[in-house]
Symmetry: C2
Subunit: 128 residues, 2 copies
């Protein structure tokens, strides 16, 4: 096994864009809420503030989840995977995690027929 897999030292394996994958689950229910990316600064701010920060690839800037909506993600626990390129963020969400207003970004399941089917409701007001 490599050093990254067994070490007690945090040494993220940043990709070519300087990012690792962040997987956010609800610490209470275990539901997968969202997947986003973190650069070194986002990780540092997440550790320092206890609130989830990310790097927005589409907007090209640092981003605190809930900075405008107030729907911040309070970090309960952070875990890193074996090769240190993915971060599990167990959180207490202070509102919907999805920008569509849904509790989770993962509210459509694939049916055996290959279609998508809603499993959670998107509120009419679509609050971010």
């Amino acid at each position: 096994m490599s050093e990254a897999e067994t070490s007690s030292e945090l040494s993220p394996k940043w990709d070519a864009a300087g990012l690792i994958t962040g997987v956010v689950t609800d610490a209470r229910t275990g539901e997968l809420l969202m997947v986003a990316h973190l650069n070194a600064e986002a990780l540092q701010l997440t550790q320092e503030t206890g609130e989830a920060h990310f790097w927005s690839r589409s907007r090209g800037r640092l981003w605190k989840k809930g900075e405008t909506s107030g729907h911040v993600l309070k970090v309960v626990e952070l875990r890193i995977d074996c090769d240190q390129d993915a971060l599990w963020m167990r959180v207490e969400p202070q509102g919907p995690a999805c920008h569509t207003g849904a509790r989770s970004c993962f509210c459509r399941r694939l049916t055996p027929g290959g279609e998508l089917e809603m499993v959670g409701e998107i509120p009419q007001d679509g609050v971010v």
Copy 2:
């Protein structure tokens, strides 16, 4: 909201390498087991066989989880996120998900001091 976010049509948003992110959780316990990537063929085989397939970026080839170890991941449910670039794979694991032999790849937590601390045991034999 965009078509991808509300549509009942599966239309994955492949990245430049033709991949989406796969987030694998234990359907029974909710534990995050691993994060890997899928290309179109891996997604198709996963849907057809009910067993998780991925694209290995390091080995540059299609890969069925457990093809050598027997530790396949039986798919209980597949969900796609709002912008269709991440797949939530809820599975029944037939053995350890991590190549280190650990049940999950995410068996180290970040302590407040910034170090890593084991939260699950890696077996001595390190069976893959």
